[in-house]
Symmetry: C2
Subunit: 109 residues, 2 copies
Amino acid sequence: MLSSSDNSYIHKKVISIGTVCELTGLSERQIRYYEERELIFPKRSNKGNRKYSFSDVEALMDIANKMEDGLQTSDLRKEITSKRLGEQKSESKEQMIRGQLNAYFKRRQ
Amino acid sequence: MLSSSDNSYIHKKVISIGTVCELTGLSERQIRYYEERELIFPKRSNKGNRKYSFSDVEALMDIANKMEDGLQTSDLRKEITSKRLGEQKSESKEQMIRGQLNAYFKRRQ
DNA sequence: CGTGTAAGGAATTCTGACACG
DNA sequence: CGTGTAAGGAATTCTGACACG
């Protein structure tokens, strides 16, 4: 029971950051920052250029949505960790609620 | 009955030429030349950079093999056209034989 | 015919830092 | 905390052309 399908190409790291920006609507700054916070893990080419897979792109779109909902990168980091431990359901429910509350108060400002 | 599978990502043109070189072992020059001969059709980014799909990469590896077998780009061009017309079998058989003969004589030189 | 290469320019990407808040 | 930006450098990509054969 895998969450992401194992189509030969989805995990190949071949897309450079500019193209990822176009696909996700995120800025380079945001994408690099999410890497710094260990939410995504691009490969590096010989000369040091970041290379992303389609699954990275999917992950980034998910991250973008959750950030909009008011979650913090630390929340998303925990989510990734707890996914590994199989405790996803209860954890993410809390975070979903917290995010929605955050978003609510942001709009009220 | 499609020859290439329709996995969401295989046809997305997101790979830049340098990465295609790494994936195929071909030079930039060769890849651009095969485009000039209308064997592949990359997209262009806003600023004019070529973007290839995984299916383009597969096509290039096929092209590379056939060029090694002694076929010419014009042969491969015909092959593509005849594929569209559904006359693939007889045509490609001739070309295969021609290619093998060419390769044979090349080695004899 | 198919491919290498030098040429010059334009666009891409990288890092570390300052800024705001 | 998350993101924008200016800075300077290095690597990428592009086109048109000459070369060999």
